[in-house]
Amino acid sequence: MADAITAPDVVRAEASDSIESKLKRVPLVLNRRNFRWITDRISGVVEEPAPRWWWVTFAITSLTAAFGLFCLGYQISTGVGTWGLNHPVGWAWDITNFVFWIGIGHAGTLISAILFLLRQKWRTSINRAAEAMTLFAVICAAIFPGVHVGRVWMAWYLAPLPNNYGIWPNFRSPLLWDVFAVSTYFTVSVLFWYTGLIPDLATLRDRATSKIKKFFYGIFAVGWRGSNRHWRHYEMAYLLLAGISTPLVLSVHSVVSFDFATSILPTWHTTIFPPYFVAGAIFGGFAMVLTLLIPARAIYKLQDIITIQHIDKMAKIILLTGSFVAYAYAMEFFVAWYSGNHYERFAFANRVLGPYWWYWWVGMLFCNCLSPQLFWFRWCRRNIYVVYFVSMCVNAGMWFERFIIIVGGLHRDFLPSSWGMFYPTWVDIWTFIGTFGIFTSLFLLFIRYLPMIAMSEVKIVLPEADPHFQSAEQHHPVAAGGKERT
């Protein structure tokens, strides 16, 4: 009876099949799409006339942006009093919005630089749009510290420029470090983004049908011909920029966290702030990437390039960073209690039970800590609606978090007689909404005029790009193992 197949054997065999299917690497580009299809589909977004929805959306967002700019103009011409700032709340929506946007500006460079160094090939489908989003978010962020100083025409004092007054910025101030950190980050991110764009700009130049387009894409493609030498220089430049960008991703939000943590204010001064802020930034940044790319992939039918696998992986990063953020929240509470410091203990109790209690319960606890926990489950990570829901929760939650750190830390200071509350004015609210207008308008312009997916990089991760590639059925082991992988 040695050859008899028993029921348990069958069950085991079936189970084994499903296990093997779970372990199988799924290709990064689905449906065996070839180089040409990728070029046509992505260039097509730029080359075809703008669809009606684009014009309608752009009209709305640019009007919102314009109103936001009007609010900024009103605030600059009238004074910071147009915002709801008061004593003791000297920082409120302005700095909350600054930290919120600068945090969003983290995912792009993380995807481009850190995931590049970690050889995560799945990044190629999403890095271009994420990097563009990074730049636009940093632009929105830069508005707030610039105007919150009140006399914006004196903002040049932030730079260490020799001047007749002998006035120098305070180099010991983390606010000044911020100026350097953010401007360096923006500069390097622009360079990195632009370097990655060059081969794709050349593709657009070569396909351009009008002289104007050919001229402008040609100028920005800086003479790219795709020669071996060009590629060699390009890849070295890309690697070096990735290496330079990696510490910047970590340093920018660490420096932003120093704005708070170097103070002696309860809830602000805590040593875990640097990694906690960085994790929070990546967390919020990835949520925004998903917020933008999930509709974009549906509208432009890019599901074969931005696959469910990509969304799954981004959801995992949200789970990881969200859980670290939850750990940091927990450590803050634990150490506030463990320190035995009455002020710390009061401040954290106030966070949970004080007048801003619901910001903590809804924003920090539900949106940031609990909602990402859905991503422990595979079907949640692969369900677009669940992913979108969680992304929106995180977008909101991260704003709430910054608000409760800033206003929650300020509104009840050491002197109970000066306790107060913050109430935003219409200028506060519309300036913030205006930055969303600026952000989305810039993003819409980006997808209209530039390839939103890095065509050349996506092609590199196709199995056909491997020199050992033979045919779809007969892969060289290296090609099969090394290229059809995640």
């Binding site: 296990i19 970590l250 040593t271 875990i272 035995g340």
Partner: protein, 400 residues
């Protein structure tokens, strides 16, 4: 050594011949016995000094083992490929975590020398009384049991699953390990954090830092990768894993050493700078104690040695692809981790400056030799690499 693998290894795996190394094993065994005898003497003759020395040795090896456990669970959680060929050694080292429970016994026996809070009765110190909900003996013991049960059981199971797969080749074990690793990740974070609180800064119940758990983690992860490099190189020089581990694997291990050298510096700097900047006495007391007299020299050596020496060397590609050079750097980083733990533990005893004692070396000998002895025994029990892992081929043909 070839740059990349070009031969497929034997499907039945490679086995460590314990007989060949019986001499070394016996040597470690004898050293361990000598160490145990000396430890008993130390515990009786100079219990106060020995308590701190033992805690130093215990914490040093604990961070190394816990780091290997971390790399194992991360391997499964992210479904990595490159680690497959070196993973068995991570599992072997991490499986010794259960033994650390035995080495914790001296800490418990000498607890009154180490942890001031255990000696102060209720009602005497208001600050301490406000923390009694956490700092009380039953809860402390319960936590310690939890740490060892979790780390010991998870590390044991992960190795067992992996070894089982060597025999039956069933990919189910990979999925089971993945699930176990997912569960282990948050528990690892919490257990390591609170163990770092309980054991290391518990020596001064007044001090606190939210970054503490992350700081200990950063040192553990980087130094355990260094340990892995040394173990793999030792096995290769003994003639094992030659067709399996390539320079590409060394390159990646070197890159992780670099990453965690930077991460350690980042976390260490963040913690130090924020405390220095705010200048609050409750917080600065920890660093003031470690920045005075001869302690300052060691502190500077740690900063310069671990970061300013380690970083530029590891930044270069050359040393990462030359086993001899990367081993020298790995050995140096392990020394730096030892120095780090020394600076954490011993100033609690000698607040006025470095006071190197003979007893500081005994725990290193005892725990180190015992672990080495047990490691050689564990090594012979299974193949030196997971020979039927579903990702083995990808790991063999690794290209950076």
């Amino acid at each position: 050594m070839s740059e990349r693998a070009n031969v497929v290894p034997m499907p039945e795996g490679e086995f460590f011949e314990a007989n060949r190394f019986a001499g070394k094993s016996a040597l470690f065994g004898i050293l361990a016995l000598i160490g145990i005898v000396l430890s008993v003497v130390g515990g009786l003759v100079a219990p106060h000094q020995f308590a701190y020395s033992w805690l130093f040795g215990f914490a040093y090896f604990f961070t190394l083992l816990i780091g290997c456990f971390f790399w194992t669970i991360v391997h499964y959680a992210v479904d990595a490929e490159w680690t497959v060929v070196v993973r068995r050694q991570l599992e072997n080292i991490a499986s010794l975590l259960a033994v650390m429970a035995v080495f914790f016994i001296p800490v418990l026996l000498l607890r009154h020398h180490l942890y001031e809070w255990m000696n102060i009765p209720r009602g005497q110190e208001p600050l301490l009384d406000s923390k009694r909900l956490y700092l009380n003996m039953p809860f402390y013991l319960g936590r310690c049991v939890l740490y060892f049960v979790f780390f010991g059981a998870a590390a044991f199971l992960l190795r067992r699953f992996s070894v089982r797969q060597d025999r039956d080749g069933n990919p189910w074990w990979t999925l089971a390990s993945r699930k176990l690793s997912f569960l282990s990740l948050p528990l690892f974070g919490l257990c390591l954090t609170f163990a770092a609180y309980d054991w290391l800064i518990g020596t001064d119940y007044r001090w606190f830092s939210t970054m503490w758990g992350v700081y200990i983690f950063a040192g553990a992860a980087g130094s355990s990768m260094s340990l892995l490099v040394l173990v793999i190189t030792a096995l290769r020089s003994a003639g094992y894993l030659r067709d399996v581990v390539t320079l590409e694997h060394y390159h990646i291990m070197g890159k992780w050493m670099l990453a965690f050298t930077v991460f350690w510096a980042y976390i260490g700097f963040g913690q130090y700078m924020l405390i220095w900047y705010a200048n609050i006495p409750e917080e600065t007391q920890y660093f003031i104690r470690r920045n005075v007299e001869s302690w300052n020299v060691l502190n500077l050596l740690l900063v310069v040695g671990r970061f300013f020496v380690g970083f530029p060397l590891l930044l270069l590609r050359g040393p990462k692809k030359q086993p001899l050079k990367i081993c020298v750097i790995a050995g140096w980083l392990l020394l730096m981790q030892m120095l780090d733990i020394y600076i954490i533990v011993l100033p609690a005893l000698h607040g006025t400056g470095v006071h190197l004692s003979i007893w500081d070396f005994v725990p290193l000998l005892t725990i180190g030799a015992t672990l080495a002895f047990l490691f050689l025994r564990v090594l012979g029990k299974a193949s030196l690499f997971p020979n039927r892992d579903p990702r083995l081929i990808e790991s063999l043909y690794l290209v950076n």
